[in-house]
């Protein structure tokens, strides 16, 4: 979020998903697209079918890499050196879009000066990718008339996450690959409505529509509408809350649809926090690992039981309609929030989702034209959509960036906080699998999904496995400085020697118990993608 917001002024996909199909070059980085975003992957494959060039940056030989013209299999956490090398090559080969830089951006000199200082050979060595291949990728990307960069959590879940994103934005601006249709920088969202949650101000520093809490005008607007005094100070981030520990500042918590007892790093710290709260309420559709700590659990309605909107990766707001009445004592999220609010002495009084949407439209300029009657037919609207007459915005930053001029923010290599060493010789990468969603709260209740993928599998390279005497299906004990888990081995040459990979969906193998609790200081996103572990055979004692 912070990465694109600081460079472009808006932290969302600049394109529509459909546009990816028309790109000439697609650079996919830190995204296991076929598994995590199959509907995006289909556009990538369609583009490749039409002759587009695909560049994949990923330490693993993921399925998408099989379709790639260039696969840059970097060492995890060396995105910035790689992107800097590409940009230096683009400057050296005179493939820079000078006009775009002059007219539309600022602070270019800072980036250029930094790039002139780097040693290409050295940088290539850092990434582990041959310089020739980096050069080819740089040329292919820079020469395209329409080039799209898609990135996901492999970019952001590093301590350098924000600067990784800024570097991608630098690359796009350097070559003028923004502002046009089928051209841009596209973060792929991890969940169906994470974009909507951010849009609605589920962030510590903004009101709905990214209207800063620190800005008096915005604050007064919301105070007038809600008839309450609103805090002037920025709130806490997720990590600051779930990792505040027993002596933390937080005494009570209300968690909705989130399962930090499986999804956050160093689960022992999360447990320490939750177990010591004076009061915890959890609202979810099933009793999650987190809900087991709660004093009060609200049974929430599922997607099929409520009416409202979801906002997807491409800023598209779409209606979801109640198909069945809430089962048993379940209530919709709005019902739960309004019910609590009323008992706390602040009746909100919204009678329908339509009325809630009206308020959103009134107070949130980018949602200004979003009303249920407009969303009911067709495929919804993409923000910004300023008023009832506005058709929505398929791609961002046409004519000018949201923040005015696009800002180059140079970044230099910042290695992961924990790399393998003698004691913990393997580098652990975590991710997601096709068949399960997040902490498996829902998908692990589905027999077919469990049949297809019933347990966490630890991908380990054939060479490493041979050396350790590990065979597929063996039970392994994986230990980091923070914890130990039990997991089943899968021999796979998708991962390179020295590297292991698994997903975090399974509470039986809670991989986040191993992950390091360092995070990007700018976005507070944990470094899930790199930590050092050791592997032994056998059960956890």
């Amino acid at each position: 979020m912070a990465g694109l917001a600081t460079t472009f002024g808006s932290g969302a996909m600049t394109n529509s998903i459909n546009e990816i199909e028309n790109a000439e070059v697609i650079l996919a980085t830190g995204s296991n697209t076929t598994e995590a975003h199959p509907q995006v992957a289909r556009r990538m494959l369609a583009a490749v079918d039409r002759g587009a060039k695909l560049i994949v940056i990923d330490p693993r030989r993921i399925r998408l890499a099989e379709f790639a013209h260039i696969h840059l299999d970097i060492r995890p956490g060396t995105d910035i050196p790689l992107l800097n090398a590409m940009m230096r090559i683009i400057i050296d080969q005179n493939l820079v879009d000078d006009l775009f830089i002059d007219m539309r951006t600022e602070n270019y000199h800072q980036l250029r000066d930094m790039l002139y200082r780097i040693d290409l050979e050295e940088t290539a060595k850092t990434t582990g990718v041959p310089l020739e291949r980096i050069k080819e990728a740089a040329r292919v990307y820079a020469r395209a008339r329409k080039a799209v960069i898609c990135y996901c959590l492999g970019i952001t879940q590093h301590i350098s996450g924000t600067r990784n994103v800024q570097s991608l934005a630098n690359l796009a601006m350097l070559t003028g690959n923004v502002e046009k249709e089928d051209t841009g920088v596209d973060p792929l969202r991890g969940q169906n409505n994470v974009q909507g949650a951010c849009d609605m101000g589920a962030l510590p520093n903004v009101f709905p529509g990214y209207q800063s809490v620190g800005n008096l005008d915005f604050r007064e607007k919301f105070e007038a509408a809600w008839q309450v005094r609103l805090p002037e100070k920025t709130g806490l981030t997720l990590m600051e809350m779930t990792h505040c520990g027993a002596e933390g500042l937080i005494r009570g918590m209300f968690i909705m649809g989130e399962n930090p007892m499986l999804s956050d790093p160093v689960l022992s710290k999360v447990e320490d926090t939750l177990a010591n709260l004076e009061f915890l309420a959890v609202s979810d559709i099933f009793l999650t690992e987190t809900a087991k700590f709660a004093h009060v659990v609200f049974p929430a309605a599922s997607f099929a039981e409520k009416t409202g909107t979801f906002t997807n990766s491409e800023r598209r707001v779409q209606m979801v309609r109640r198909a069945i009445d809430p089962v048993g004592h379940c209530r919709t999220d709005a019902d739960i929030i309004m019910g609590i609010s009323e008992r706390m002495g602040y009746p909100m009084g919204h009678e329908s989702p339509v009325e809630i949407m009206e308020e959103i439209a009134m107070l949130t300029p980018i949602y200004g034209g979003m009303h249920h009657d407009r969303l009911e037919s067709g495929w919804g609207l993409q923000w910004p959509c300023w008023d009832r007459g506005h058709p929505g915005t398929p791609f961002l930053h046409k004519y000018y960036f949201t923040r005015g001029r696009g800002r180059f923010i140079a970044a230099e290599h910042d290695p992961p906080s924990e790399l393998p060493d003698k004691e913990y010789p393997f580098l652990l990468i975590t991710g997601r699998t096709y068949h399960h969603y997040h902490t498996g709260t829902m998908t692990r209740k589905c027999s077919l999904h469990n049949r297809e993928c019933g347990e966490a599998l630890l991908q380990i390279n054939g060479g490493d496995a041979g050396r350790l005497g590990v065979r597929g299906g063996d039970i392994l004990r994986v230990t980091s400085r923070r914890g130990v888990i039990r997991i089943t081995a899968e021999i796979s040459d998708v991962v390179k020697p020295g590297m292991i990979y698994t997903s975090f969906h399974f509470s039986e193998s809670p991989i986040n118990a191993l992950c390091i609790d360092t995070w990007d200081p700018l976005a507070n996103c944990p470094e899930y993608k790199v930590c050092a572990v050791k592997i032994e055979q056998g059960e956890v004692a």
Binding site: T34, P38, F67, Y434, S447, L448, E452
Partner: protein, 346 residues
């Protein structure tokens, strides 16, 4: 098909209304989102059947529901007993069934009724009357001409309709069709010679009107001769996004799975639900061994079954050429793409 009759289009709704007094009526209907689906029609006056667009679902949904209860069980110490499911489907007329979907029912008849009779299928099938509608124009992805299941149906329906402009030519195929024609005889006139000639004319036009050329026969031959290169399977497997959409929409994909769904500690239901042979778990054995290599052979099974095994076992491919998988597949591994890949270089 013996008797040839004429039903005026103006009288179609009236005719359906008469039928609806004795049968549940299932017809293609456009819903509020603009999707055409075979739907149980409640009110003939509010909306006429959509005989223009291809229904997105097929009759499989009715004959082999996405999920159905095979039986219920009770379980307590020393007791484990089973009670057959008791739901009985009402007599149902399916109207406006295209040749592809009708052929698909005939294929399901072979699967579920030849050899051991599947009681759950039989119960629905023997309660159904199929009224077919020949296709004067093909839909975007159709290729039933190449699989020889259309565009006109030769046999198998109870009544077969052909659109002749302001009237339908109606042919009674089976005894149930004849019964209906006899019972509501006053709707029908005997077809004139010109009507029959017109039908043939329409058929010729329909046969020549397909947008796609799909070399089904060639692909069948190449599969039989084992001439489809491994690289084809490999690429298709890489592209397949494992969604199962092709199998779920396919009117002849009848593979299913059976699971127990506990109702509480002492009661439960045994369900059967749709499954797809392209899923790795379809063949995975207890203990983790899989006799099928998911990386290449799962998708191979799908096309071999449709275009090779069923040709060997039943004389013609079980792909009926409806093209639904072409529309739904987002990995680009639909059957037309496969056939094109298999025939490349011929």
């Amino acid at each position: 098909m013996s008797d040839k009759l004429i039903l005026k289009k103006d009288h179609l709704t009236t005719f359906l209304r008469k039928l609806s007094k004795e049968y549940q009526l299932v017809v293609p209907l456009k819903n509020c989102h603009g999707d055409t689906l075979f739907t149980v029609i409640e009110d003939l006056d509010s909306q006429p059947p959509d005989l223009v667009n291809q229904p997105q679902n097929s009759l499989k949904e009715f004959m082999l529901p996405q999920q159905e209860v095979l039986f219920t069980y009770k379980n307590s110490p020393g007791d484990y007993s089973f009670s057959p499911a008791t739901v009985k489907p009402p007599p149902t007329i399916f109207f406006g069934v295209r040749p592809c979907d009708l052929s698909a029912v005939l294929y399901m008849d072979v699967i579920f009724l030849q050899g051991r009779t599947d009681p759950h299928y039989l119960q629905k099938r023997e309660n159904s009357v199929l009224i077919g509608l020949n296709c004067n124009t093909s839909f975007a992805d159709c290729f039933c001409n190449a699989t020889r299941h259309g565009p006109f149906l030769e046999y198998g329906s109870d009544l077969q309709f052909t659109d002749l402009g302001d009237r339908f030519l109606v042919e009674a195929g089976r005894s149930r069709g004849e019964e209906i024609v006899r019972k509501w005889g006053y709707f029908f006139a005997v077809a004139a010679k010109e009507d029959r000639a017109r039908k043939y004319q329409v058929f010729l036009e329909a046969r020549g009107g397909f947008a796609r050329m799909v070399h089904v026969d060639q692909a069948i031959k190449r599969l039989r001769e084992k001439k489809v290169d491994d690289s084809v399977w490999h690429e298709l497997s890489l592209r397949c996004q494992d969604c199962g959409g092709c199998a779920y929409l396919c009117p002849t994909c009848t593979c299913f799975t059976i699971i127990d769904r506990p109702v509480d500690n002492v009661r439960g239901e045994r369900l059967r639900s749709w499954d797809a042979c392209t899923f790795a778990g379809f063949t995975n054995m207890a203990g983790g061994h899989n006799p099928v290599n998911a990386a290449t052979d799962a998708i191979r099974q799908r096309f071999m079954h449709k275009l090779c095994y069923d040709v060997k076992d039943h004389g013609r491919p079980s792909c009926v050429g409806c093209g639904r998988c072409v529309g739904i597949c987002f990995g680009g591994t639909d059957i037309i793409r496969f056939i094109n890949m298999a025939c490349e270089g011929i």
